[in-house]
């Protein structure tokens, strides 16, 4: 099993982002995803900068992938997708079927990101026929769901035509909205947000009125309040999962990559989760639960 570093979901200053990827390139990650996936107003790194950064990282011995926005609403956002797809060097993770459409027109292969609704093997087959090489499972699905789907794809003779990647660590991307909740948290409208996401490098944590962590606000994206952690579930991924995704929120995430790599080599080494972590989805219980 390989370990990947998912795209940075938060908005950091340009230099901090570049520094992060300079560290990432010497980390234990096998695959590095990068690019803006949440909000087109975040332009510390412009499209050209992301492509250049991807290109410079691609000179090392790692797979580099440019990831793309999930919620595409404006023609200008589609233009950005086209530019990314034309980078000519690294592959693309599509998080909307618009991106699949654009890549298909160019006869380019793609990775199907977690924000695309692929829930069954028939859908997988159609996407494979269009050039999908890797499927990142939607975060709300369980091991049982995955096992059934992979089994179906075996029967259809497809299993050797795609890889399976599972979101395995980090705050889960749960929803996308037209509304910017970070701007709202400061009583601002989205059009007048002042790019305030940059002030919250790990998003804004909200609690219930009983102090239970519920969500993390990240611009138009809502993340899980608890940190998803499948470190104790690697054995149950055997023969099912090819790649584990670590979603970064700081330099510490690179150590998490190392921990997962180490865990892959250690059998039966149980690491108790803390009270602000969860693994429910994998175990077919509510996402915020611990199974």
């Amino acid at each position: 099993m390989k370990v990947s570093l998912g795209p940075l979901l938060y908005y950091w200053p340009k230099q901090q982002t570049i520094d992060f990827y300079q560290h990432a390139i010497s980390s234990d990650a096998d695959i590095i995803y990068l690019g803006e996936t949440v909000c087109s107003k975040r332009r510390e790194l412009k499209t050209r900068d992301w492509i250049e950064l991807a290109s410079s990282l691609n000179k090392h011995n790692k797979e580099i992938v440019l990831s793309t926005m999930a919620l595409l609403e404006a023609p200008s956002e589609l233009s950005v997708i086209k530019k990314l797809c034309e980078n000519g060097e690294v592959s693309i993770e599509a998080n909307d079927l618009a991106t699949v459409q654009i890549l298909t027109e160019k006869k380019l292969p793609f990775i199907c990101g977690p924000a695309i609704n692929c829930y069954n093997a028939q859908t997988l087959k159609l996407l494979i026929n269009q050039g999908m090489q890797r499927w990142v499972m939607p975060v709300e699905l369980s091991r049982d769901w995955l096992a059934d789907l992979v089994e179906d794809s075996h029967k259809m003779g497809l299993r050797d035509q795609y890889e399976v990647e599972v979101f395995s660590y980090g705050h889960l991307p749960l929803a996308y909205s037209a509304r910017c909740f970070t701007a709202r948290s400061e009583n601002k409208a989205k059009d007048d947000c002042g790019l305030t996401c940059i002030n919250y490098p790990q998003g804004r944590l909200i609690h219930t009125q009983e102090e239970q962590q519920v969500f993390v606000l990240n611009g138009i994206q809502t993340l899980s309040g608890y940190c998803y952690n499948l470190i104790n579930d690697l054995e149950s991924m055997h023969d099912l999962v090819d790649i584990l995704r670590i979603s970064p929120n700081s330099l510490n995430s690179l150590e998490t990559v190392t921990e997962f790599k180490r865990q892959l080599l250690q059998q039966n080494h149980y690491r108790p989760l803390n009270s602000s972590q969860c693994n429910g989805y994998w175990h077919s219980i509510p996402g915020l639960g611990q199974g």
């Binding site: 023609p75 618009a98 948290s185």
Partner: protein, 331 residues
């Protein structure tokens, strides 16, 4: 401009048709549709009666098959498509790629409407579905501003349906897992958001509380009206400030946008609420019928009548309405 009304039951269907709906949309009594609630929707005999009533009145019937097929159980979704065709429905509203693929191959003449749950918000995504499944209409997610809807109407060459009134989904539909994060059940997998079986109400010394799977959604003062604990409309705590962090209990109301929607060539206005009563469907349908007719009679004189707004507010969540994402300031 088609007025498309919700029907969660045969009485609701009849009243919608009687009060002026051009078309109604319904779902089967199982998890193949996104309003899979106890006591709601159509079994086999009700389906036949409903379809007959719609046909007798020369109106249109749309069948929502808009959740995502579970692996190994695709047949249930395919059967729903078969039933839709057997009924002689005018359109199937579908979200799942596997189900779209089945419907296109087996019934090339069946009109396929892309469900809002498919989350197509731009021209390229619409092209994907047109190219692969020859869809005939797109139901737009409630995330686009009026300007963006207009751009799509101009650039996409496909009939568009928009939400005009009803409970407001504030997330891009089909891409929201908040409900399964709390309960294990989501619109995509089970056809329900914040399912009623997880709801608990409790009187406490601090007031009435609402919970979803034991997680506190809201706490109400004595003078406050309590609403259904949809989790995106809860009051949460951000750095000591307690407020409706994501959205207040409110409903979408676009009566004032009707002229814009008609002039930009929107094909259909959809009223949300298959889970609501026949009385609700009756009132909503009457108001919207009157509004559309009033515009058609004399477009230049169209004005939202105060009594329309009043009636709609009374039927709304939290007794308040909003233009939602259509209006940039909401975003």
């Amino acid at each position: 401009m088609e007025l498309l009304c919700p029907a969660g039951s045969l009485p609701a269907l009849k009243v919608a048709i009687d009060c002026g709906a051009d078309a109604v949309y319904i779902g089967l009594k199982d998890e193949t549709n996104a309003r899979h609630f106890a006591g709601l929707n159509f079994n086999a005999s009700k389906l036949v009666k409903g379809a007959q009533y719609v046909a007798d009145n020369n109106k249109h019937l749309h069948v929502a098959i808009n959740t995502f097929a579970h692996p190994g159980q695709e047949k249930r979704w395919y059967n729903a498509v078969d039933q839709c065709v057997d009924l002689g429905a005018n359109a199937a509203i579908i979200a799942d790629i596997a189900t779209l693929d089945y419907a296109t191959r087996k019934y090339p003449d069946l009109a396929l409407h892309l469900s809002v749950q498919a989350s197509a918000t731009n021209t390229a995504a619409i092209e994907f579905y047109q190219r692969n499944f020859n869809i005939k209409r797109v139901v737009l997610p409630r995330v686009l501003s009026l300007h963006q809807v207009k751009q799509l109407a101009r650039n996409s060459h496909i009939p568009l349906e928009v939400f005009a009134f009803g409970s407001l989904c504030i997330m891009a539909e089909g891409r929201c897992y908040l409900s399964s994060y709390f309960t294990g059940e989501s619109p995509n997998t089970v056809g329900a958001c914040s399912p009623a079986k997880f709801v608990r109400w409790q009187e406490t010394s601090q007031g009435l509380t609402s919970r979803l799977n034991n997680i506190l959604i809201d706490r109400y003062h004595n003078d406050e009206k309590a609403g259904y604990p949809t989790l995106c409309k809860g009051r949460f705590n951000l750095d000591g400030q307690i407020y409706h962090t994501l959205e207040e209990p409110t409903s979408l109301n676009t009566l004032s946008l009707l002229p814009d929607l008609i002039e930009m060539g929107i094909s259909s206005v959809k009223i949300e609420g298959r889970q609501r009563s026949p009385a609700y469907v009756e009132q909503i349908t009457r108001v919207w019928r009157a509004a559309i007719d009033s515009y058609m009679q004399s477009p230049a004189q169209y004005q939202v009548k105060p009594q329309w707004d009043q009636q709609l507010e009374n039927l709304s969540e939290g007794n308040q309405t909003t233009l939602g994402a259509y209006h940039r300031s909401w975003q």
